[in-house]
């Protein structure tokens, strides 16, 4: 039998040499007259091991990583095509604690299947969800999503079933589904991994949403910073059209659904749902005042479901395996699983999907293995650029929407960015304000001007000028931004700023003792 190798085509794997490794393996096996088959997959999400090459053996797939082109001759010499021993051999990926401790639902197929093969997708459970939705009908489908307890994974954690019901009940000839793949938060890559590693799950989820609320048209808005994901998703969508998974008669039923891919243009605020709709309509990406909700008046004024990509990709599994199975996992009002993204200065960076409820410390120290540099962890920013900085003293916080909110933090899209003890928290607070100034849509004065003003004030603190008066100014400014902003860009920027000041006072010219 021809040996079969699996190599990720995930952008992060490519960024650390997956293409060069693939070429080296092809060239070297060719030179040795060895026939092999290479399947390009998504990534398993064990990024410290990328590029990771997996070989199919009688004992399952055996991983080797991180592989460089220079390792290839040695790997072949030692018989890695049969899964033989080698210093880079990590064994079966599923047996690594980082994977064996996960509950992979949304990411069950990512890194395993050929993302462009519908046969592979179906062989791994794909399109069972849509079949069930077709037999349940729209109302039954929405009921199922509601009972699963799924909350939006884009940041706000709004119940998906409630959103769908609102759109289903809105009378209109034309309704839309919009998949938010703008993924602008630093420290996040779950949307990207799914587009590159399991795009049919996204397409199936969008289709089910259309069926449930009575929409015949959908858009996916992908940020322009993701050229690999855009290319991968476009190919998958074409394959879906060619196989009646999109188009006028889906899966032989009377239901028709069209999906169009749109590319963003480099604006963080366009991840905000109403700014995204403006952008799709071809306007400046400025946030709309709510009400009206997009569910009532969304894209082109029509009732619109706008959901994060992970929320939508989670739906097929919920329908296939039942709402109860999903709802049985989790903690408090946070049901199901969350794809946590471990990023930044962390030893084991990657995607960790788990039921809610682990503590922040378990995630960072046990699963992440501490910092990549080997220095002590000093801070973790949770939930992207609008999220709070947590010190190790707060590592007992359970990973759950409400527990994070209770500590003035947020889960957001699931990103965790780790910093070691070299970090200067005054610089991080400055960056949060600077980012807000750069990305503000310009509609509210506190966000547009307050952020720029805040940068100047922090610069004075960094320069050692009158720390206490300037800190009082910052606090005031944050208060104004928090209550005078239309959306969370201006409204939540105070979280990273104030958490840095309160949890790391020594970096702002104050004594640590003042922390309490």
């Amino acid at each position: 039998m021809t040996p079969r190798l699996y190599i990720p085509r995930d952008a992060a794997a490519i960024a650390v040499g997956a293409e060069a490794v693939t070429k080296a393996i092809e060239a070297e096996t060719n030179a040795r007259g060895l026939g092999i088959e290479i399947v390009r997959t998504g990534s398993r999400g064990l990024f410290w091991l990328e590029p990771m090459v997996e070989v199919e053996t009688r004992d399952g797939r055996i991983g080797y990583g991180p592989v460089t082109p220079g390792d290839v001759p040695g790997l072949l010499d030692s018989g890695f095509l049969d899964g033989a021993a080698h210093p880079l051999r990590v064994g079966r990926p599923e047996d690594l604690p980082f994977l064996s401790r996960q509950t992979r639902l949304t990411f069950a197929r990512c890194g395993i299947v050929d993302p462009l093969s519908l046969d592979d997708y179906r062989a791994h459970g794909g399109y069972r969800g849509l079949q069930r939705a077709l037999s349940l009908g729209p109302a039954g489908t929405i009921e199922e999503v509601a009972r699963s307890g799924l909350r939006g994974r884009g940041g706000a954690g709004f119940p998906t079933g409630v959103k769908w019901r609102t759109v289903a009940e809105a009378p209109a000839a034309q309704k839309y589904i919009v998949c938010n793949a703008d993924e602008g938060d630093s420290g996040t890559f779950a949307d990207r991994m799914l587009m590159e590693g399991d795009p049919f799950a996204v397409i199936e989820g969008i289709t089910i949403a259309g069926l449930a609320v009575g929409a015949s048209k959908g858009f996916i808005y992908i940020r322009s910073e993701y050229p690999d994901a855009i290319a991968a998703f476009a190919k998958a969508a074409r394959a879906a059209y060619e196989n009646d998974c999109l188009g006028p008669r889906i899966a032989g039923s009377a239901f028709g659904f069209d999906l169009e891919l749109r590319v963003g243009a480099g604006a963080y605020v366009c991840g905000e749902e109403t700014a995204l709709l403006e952008s799709l309509e071809g306007k400046r990406g400025q946030v709309r005042a709510k009400p009206p909700l997009p569910a009532h008046k969304g894209l082109f004024g029509q009732p619109t479901v706008i959901n994060n990509l992970v929320s939508l990709a989670t739906v097929p599994g919920i329908l296939a395996d039942g709402a109860e199975t999903y709802a049985a996992l989790g903690f408090g009002r946070s049901r199901g699983s969350m794809p946590i993204q471990l990023a930044g200065n962390v030893k084991h960076g990657g995607l960790f999907e788990a039921a809610f409820g682990l503590t922040l410390g378990e995630i960072i120290d046990d699963i992440g293995g501490g910092t990549a540099t080997g220095r002590p962890v000093r801070a973790v920013q949770a939930g992207g650029p609008l999220g709070a900085y947590f010190p190790p003293a707060l590592f007992d916080t359970p990973y759950d929407y409400e527990a994070f909110a209770a500590r003035d933090g947020l889960i957001g899209h699931g990103g965790l960015v780790v910093f070691d003890d070299q970090v200067d928290m005054a610089r991080q607070a400055r960056f949060a304000l600077e980012f807000c100034a750069i990305e503000s849509c310009g509609k509210c004065t506190p966000c547009r001007l307050g952020s720029t003003r805040g940068v100047e004030v922090i610069d004075r603190i960094i320069a050692g000028k009158d720390a206490s008066a300037n800190l009082a100014l910052i606090e005031d400014l944050c208060h104004t931004m928090k209550f005078g902003s239309l959306c969370a860009l201006g409204g939540f920027t105070p979280y990273p700023v104030m958490s840095a000041i309160n949890n790391f006072p020594e970096d702002f010219g104050r004594k640590a003792a003042a922390a309490a």
């Binding site: 952008a11 992060a12 490519i14 960024a15 650390v16 410290w48 990328e50 993924e183 602008g184 630093s186 420290g187 996040t188 890559f189 990207r192 322009s224 910073e225 993701y226 050229p227 690999d228 994901a229 169009e260 749109r262 590319v263 963003g264 243009a265 480099g266 604006a267 963080y268 952008s279 799709l280 309509e281 071809g282 306007k283 400046r284 990406g285 400025q286 082109f300 993204q341 471990l342 990023a343 930044g344 200065n345 962390v346 960076g349 990657g350 995607l351 990549a372 920013q381 650029p385 990103g415 960015v417 780790v418 910093f419 070691d420 970090v423 991080q428 960056f431 980012f435 750069i438 990305e439």
Partner: protein, 142 residues
């Protein structure tokens, strides 16, 4: 352009296509879009100026986008970028005098677990220590 005209909300697809063709969006292009979509020139200009991707002036022959967001900061991305900019005598957004290379800031490429990250002409790169970033810059030839 005609290919995009019939779309619902055709503006961004048209602007992307024009910029892909011309490398930037000159005045004449904006006027053309305005005419085609029945908008004023000021309206088109308002859209173009809102988005970081669209540029009114040409960039260098190669485009290096370096991530300046938090995960890349945590792995020393800022210092590596600063050293490169200093070596080339550039500021963020600047172009080398020979028109070879433009360096722009970007905020997250979704490569945050293999940070620091950058993208050269749409090709992604990660784990960029200062030497790695310099090597990437050298790939932008001529």
């Amino acid at each position: 352009m005609d290919q995009h005209k019939g779309l619902e909300g055709p503006m961004l697809p048209i602007l992307h296509a024009l910029q892909a063709t011309f490398g930037h969006l000159p005045e004449a292009a904006m006027r053309l879009v305005a005419e085609m979509l029945n908008l004023t020139r000021a309206e088109v200009h308002g859209v173009v100026s809102f988005y970081h991707d669209f540029r009114a002036v040409p960039a260098g022959r190669h485009m290096l986008k370096i991530c300046r967001a938090e995960a890349c900061q945590s792995m020393g991305g800022e210092a590596a970028a600063r050293a490169l900019l200093d070596r080339l005598g550039l500021e963020w957004g600047g172009t080398t005098p020979d028109g070879r290379l433009t360096i722009e800031a970007t905020y997250c490429l979704g490569l945050c677990a293999t940070a620091p990250a950058a993208m050269l002409d749409g090709r992604v790169a990660g784990r960029l220590d200062p030497a790695g970033l310099d090597a990437l810059e050298q790939e932008a030839q001529p």
